[in-house]
Symmetry: D2
Subunit: 362 residues, 4 copies
Amino acid sequence: MPEDAARTPADGRTPVGILGATGSVGQRMVGLLADHPWFRVAYVTGSERSQGLPYREAARWAQSSPIPPAVAHMEVRATRVTGEAPLVLSALDASVAGPVETAFAQAGVLVVSNARSHRMDPDVPLIVPEVNPDHLGLLEAQSAQPGGIITNPNCSTIGLALTLAPLHRTFGVRRLHVVTLQAVSGAGIPGVSSMEILDNVIPFIAGEEEKLERETRKILGQLSNGEVEPASVQVSAHCNRVPVIDGHLACVSVELEGDPKPEAAAEVMAAFRGRPQGLGLPSAPRRPLHLLPQEDAPQPRLHRDLEGGMAVPVGRIRDCPLLTLRYVLLSHNTLRGAAGGSLLTAELALAEGWVPGRRGTP
Amino acid sequence: MPEDAARTPADGRTPVGILGATGSVGQRMVGLLADHPWFRVAYVTGSERSQGLPYREAARWAQSSPIPPAVAHMEVRATRVTGEAPLVLSALDASVAGPVETAFAQAGVLVVSNARSHRMDPDVPLIVPEVNPDHLGLLEAQSAQPGGIITNPNCSTIGLALTLAPLHRTFGVRRLHVVTLQAVSGAGIPGVSSMEILDNVIPFIAGEEEKLERETRKILGQLSNGEVEPASVQVSAHCNRVPVIDGHLACVSVELEGDPKPEAAAEVMAAFRGRPQGLGLPSAPRRPLHLLPQEDAPQPRLHRDLEGGMAVPVGRIRDCPLLTLRYVLLSHNTLRGAAGGSLLTAELALAEGWVPGRRGTP
Amino acid sequence: MPEDAARTPADGRTPVGILGATGSVGQRMVGLLADHPWFRVAYVTGSERSQGLPYREAARWAQSSPIPPAVAHMEVRATRVTGEAPLVLSALDASVAGPVETAFAQAGVLVVSNARSHRMDPDVPLIVPEVNPDHLGLLEAQSAQPGGIITNPNCSTIGLALTLAPLHRTFGVRRLHVVTLQAVSGAGIPGVSSMEILDNVIPFIAGEEEKLERETRKILGQLSNGEVEPASVQVSAHCNRVPVIDGHLACVSVELEGDPKPEAAAEVMAAFRGRPQGLGLPSAPRRPLHLLPQEDAPQPRLHRDLEGGMAVPVGRIRDCPLLTLRYVLLSHNTLRGAAGGSLLTAELALAEGWVPGRRGTP
Amino acid sequence: MPEDAARTPADGRTPVGILGATGSVGQRMVGLLADHPWFRVAYVTGSERSQGLPYREAARWAQSSPIPPAVAHMEVRATRVTGEAPLVLSALDASVAGPVETAFAQAGVLVVSNARSHRMDPDVPLIVPEVNPDHLGLLEAQSAQPGGIITNPNCSTIGLALTLAPLHRTFGVRRLHVVTLQAVSGAGIPGVSSMEILDNVIPFIAGEEEKLERETRKILGQLSNGEVEPASVQVSAHCNRVPVIDGHLACVSVELEGDPKPEAAAEVMAAFRGRPQGLGLPSAPRRPLHLLPQEDAPQPRLHRDLEGGMAVPVGRIRDCPLLTLRYVLLSHNTLRGAAGGSLLTAELALAEGWVPGRRGTP
């Protein structure tokens, strides 16, 4: 870890590099870091096509808020290892993320990654901050210490895990059936062609069902003896792409121990709080789960922006003729499900002392 | 049954009245009856607003093919009982269909109805022609004979029943989980507001889940002693509205006796034929189920028009971690799932001698 | 004007009634008045269907931000004349707005209306606050003084007028050709059916082209001797409805005196400021017009929310082979083009002393 | 011209090669040639990625009708010059079309191209068969005779030219203003990203406005002394992309000599017929222009398929406050505007004896 970077910068905020900053998740990260109380953008990296250009020219900015001025004129760099910032957020494509993130970690940098490359590595924590913050303990097993790699889950897994966590703690989740209706922003830019999705639905997303099934078990698993034992939850997932810009909806049927009533489950979900709420992390929603009373909620366009897109609205909790209960959840896939999730994880890591050279929060 | 109507008309085709002809399903019926080999439109009825107007002015025609000239200039009538045609297709709204259809039946007319009003009446057949043509036998128990009422199921039930039928016959279906992604045309015109559905999904359709659960059991049931014993199949349904014009998609997980492999189920589905195919009914698809090999099929825009919208494409047959198998099906909701389904049922009724005064097909 | 209402309320803010508060523009008004520094909602009115219900039940809330708590539990009233608040914002439907607004004015209330009913009345100001604030002088001619009626223009006119104003002042606008691509929210809720607009465009909006042509001339006109002499600008308008939620786009070709270059026009537009900017009205954008440099801007989804939806982005200023110049403008039709426009007008009226019993701003 | 290819094939139909057959326009060509009475597909070519694969695997088939069986199993070839077929339809990308098409022509093949590469070459006819069939005479000037190159215009130009032609002949068109609302299929596959166009409109299409302005003048021009003198029509075009699958809409204001009334223009347009109608070409619509009486027509989803997508519906003919008349037109951009237009041109060329080695039609 280079001493220079670790030292308190002029404004006291921790410098952060953004890897793969020009894509759709990278743009969201840049947007969220504008005026962040703990972090400031130290540099941005991009693909060969972008390198050397000012960020505002390199990124095809597709957000409805303008490019933060502090970044607009930054020159986009190649994604080369540097210790200039003790922390990086990685929005790299999975095709390149693996070795690059490892190299940053070995250079003493803490990498919080949105890519799938290291998610299932036994010594890499897969974090939803409200659900399994203790899994950060896996970092101790990583050879790169004080550098290391933390991942956040697939965009469709995060919302599911947040709703399952309180049910699992209170009742025990045995198995579940989940069908997702996922927004096109989940596929990035250009991603899904308009010819594929206008007046249409695609009942398949490559690799997504496997990720949902596998990652859910790891997140709900137990850390003991430096290993995460996956939860023995059976998951059947079916993933669809729908013509929605942002917001993944999921229809869930779940089997719970003790056969609780919908009202009991609703109560447990509404009361759910996690460590980000306890610590008052800057990006933490006040309530991770919002229970909506309307019979036709949640809906992507109406509810995806609840608490800045960091809360997960839940609705239609009711009996299931086959398993125990059914409900619908929504999560903003590029905020809570990607950039915002990474940022909240980075805030957790800083607060708990995992960022090299930084002693907790400002 | 008025003798005049029953007598062979000039062109030998059976005259048919269309009740509620100006709405979205009624328009489809009008379109399908243009150049029909067995039927010709005798009259069209509509609400007060439409009465007395020529059809082309009364209907806000929303089909991509033009209004059939034979109907374009017909005057829209009030929906008053008449025996002028021995057969009527009813696209009436459920709020008015019940007593009107009963009155037509009692006047000796055979009513084939798309409305939900009589579907669950014990003596009214709920027909998917390939699945339960023998249920037409229930007509004998109706007091209105030779008039009577036949219904076709809800638009989302028809496709599901068609895929379950061969599995149920061969293996036995124990229970199933179905999540639908339904097109806006299912709600008629004006139906779903654009403000509700652009860039959005609505995870609720009033009454739809109950219909799916209840009607499926009746259709798969056994007729004996003049009654239909519902199949003992447990169904958990979740219905969503998506921004698609036509074509209801359904993600199905099903538990089958004997735990068959996906290949065995695929074979049984591909081989499925029913009475409409045997009889060569004019609107019958050559194959009720089309198994699509692509990993991302079926899709509404690409596959809803297979065999004139009367075939049901099926894809992604695969193991289910919870039940036995999973698959995706698509059905064209205003063709196979409504107007085309009614017409095929009417053709079956004519071919089997149920239309008053008509001895089978021309 | 009832003395009670005019007296400073507990919190010093002017009480405001909202007429027709449950519809799409009414909802936007309610949203914008949450935490407003000068105004507070005194009461909300609605149609018979809504009366007596708490607002949160009466309104089918379709905004992505939650209902402001102060209004959520207010009981929706009938739209009956009351002097309880010295100012009302009217989002009434044009079918009822005319006489109701007159009655409020005669009871001594200042009505700022979004309805078209009184827009072309000779003694009623039709205000775009940056363009013709002096037209408020027409109020003096209204018989209802101190009550009165002020209107804001049609949603598609406001953006056009804002871009024309600086060109007209500097160069003189002789004639123009405008083709609009208008969002569905402009038609309210339910408004445009999804069956009409998915995968489609409708090249007609009833009455819209006439409004654009007529209102533009009044807004750009001169007030003298208590009358507004319409500008002698020839306008050819064609209006289309497109599948966009919010944001009216307009493609404009304009003929200017003196044949200025695109650069000169751009400079004049970028420098444009009006009285709202001078007075620092709470809802005023810092810059009414934002000139965007991208070759494919402005776009509804990306740019409609500039400055809280109150700024009008302009792009593609270039030569026209037929007239002088061409450009593209975008305006948020339910913010700047309706609720936000009304509110800014109300702020202007308060600041300039037209609200009965209120001496300027807090 | 290889003798073999020119000889009558077994079934008497002229063999045709399709260059660039796997893209969106190529797919339409393949679809239209299924069961064509005059032509049969001899071979299909594609990019490196596709070569050697059977067509059904190489093409991401995105049409709602299935792949014609005769082509489904054809192996996709490299686009190498061959005289195997006397005629080729080119759906090549403009980035490669130029020299490849020239090479085919020099090998004695008649190339009918949808690419823009040769459209403005002085000796290359730019054909809308109903408008300027005599421009085929330019072929005589091409050095490659009997091979040669014919082009069809840009997808947005064809519909405009078809509506202008009868007006120009009868009255004379002096200048016009056109704003297009273009479908995403015009950009091919993947083309426009769903992230760019859902809930959005893009007010810019690279190069499109120039093409519209330039090509219109050439098509309406006069052939004399082996050269086409462009019509002296001034065109101001603005092109937008809208979220519609197929169908380009255009809002036109036109200045005509003699100031005719809308009724006179409508009469002239309705009566318009061209050589394809006279010759009874297989793909010719009975009427090139359909005048629709509804106040809100034409609309892409409802009217794009008129006469198999080969007719151009026109509506809202009315006075223009600035020029003479205004109207709206729609053309199916991948049928009449691309593949269908190329095919109709090929039919014209065959009928008039321009296909090497073929003496007119079968």
